[in-house]
């Protein structure tokens, strides 16, 4: 468990399973035209990186999860994964 410092955060946002993904479907349909066969299940998403100052890793994760749930993802159609590393200056 890291101590006080600046943590690096990666938030990956993707559509919930079962929610149609027009972007992923279009990419998937385009691939064979480029000669790239055998690719299935393409899902498009977004990733965000930021830094957060926190007293420890648990607090960094908790607050980053609030950022992900309240702002970065729309929970109606999206879900997110939060990964915290650091602290850089410990």
């Amino acid at each position: 468990m890291g101590g006080s410092g600046t943590y690096s955060v990666l938030v990956e946002v993707r559509l919930r399973p079962g929610i149609a993904d027009p972007q992923g479907a279009t990419i998937e349909r385009a691939l064979p035209a480029l000669g790239l066969d055998g690719v299935a299940g393409v899902r498009a998403g977004k990733s965000f990186r930021f830094e957060i100052a926190a007293d420890d890793e648990a607090s960094a994760l908790e607050r980053s999860t609030v950022v992900a749930d309240r702002v970065l993802a729309n929970p109606v159609i999206e879900e997110s994964t939060v990964t915290v590393t650091g602290p850089a200056d410990a």
Partner: protein, 229 residues
């Protein structure tokens, strides 16, 4: 007295003057409400018009919902005030949690700009009161992210509670159950992707949006009367 219609302006909103002109030609008084002001200024109805609030960054409506005016709009809606979100305004209302569901990228990733046939499904909303259910209107749509999406439970609730306000005659964007507009449980908050203000004069190609705007003005006038009484 003419009902006062507040038209919310975010940075990137671009349909506020169209909405204001359409409302004024029908006898309302339009007032622009700046997104940074934490009040709706005592208006009789609120319109959140189309455009690209805050550049549509992150997701359409995702940043706009944190604007100070939206807290006031939320309180106004909770108190029963009529609120209508058009296009980007619909996206803002879903992001703000004032309406269920979300607006996804269109099926086929096509930006659609066309006249759409709309069927009025209920007259129990501030935007359709007095309009015969089954009426078909021709109203323009102009969007990339108008593909209405919600989970199965929400869809059942919308159907069972008669909260699907408008459906497309010919689904242009992949919206679930052909939904073009929905309302909240109180029926005073309505969101729709089509632009009634762009169908408010025969010169624009259609005046079919007038019945919807007139219904909103009547709802607004009703609030005024209630306040006076």
């Amino acid at each position: 007295m003419a009902p006062r219609i507040g038209v919310v302006v975010f940075p990137g909103t671009n349909c506020e003057h169209d909405a204001a002109v359409a409302v004024e030609r029908l006898g309302g008084r339009a007032e622009l409400l700046w997104h940074g002001d934490p009040t709706v200024g005592g208006v009789d109805a609120v319109v959140i018009p189309g455009g690209f609030a805050h550049g549509d960054y992150l997701r359409p409506g995702a940043i706009a919902r944190f604007s100070p005016v939206m807290e006031a709009v939320g309180e106004y809606a909770a108190a029963g005030g009529p609120v209508v979100g058009i296009c980007n305004g619909f996206q803002v209302l879903t992001e703000a949690g004032l309406l269920p569901g979300a607006l996804q990228k269109n099926q086929g990733l096509r930006f659609v700009c066309a006249a759409a046939g709309l069927r009025v499904e209920t007259d129990r909303s501030v935007l359709t009161a007095g309009v015969e259910p089954g009426t078909v209107l021709s109203v323009p749509i102009n969007h990339f992210e108008g593909n209405y999406t919600c989970d199965a439970d929400t869809l059942s609730a919308l159907r069972d509670e008669d909260r699907v306000v408008l459906r497309y005659v010919d689904n242009p964007n992949g919206s679930v159950d052909d939904i073009a507009g929905v309302c909240n449980e109180g029926r005073n908050v309505v969101g729709l992707m089509p632009h009634p203000e762009r169908a408010s004069d025969p010169l624009l190609g259609s005046a079919d949006g007038v019945v919807l705007l007139e219904a909103l003005l009547a709802s607004a006038a009703g609030t005024t009367a209630a306040r006076v009484a």
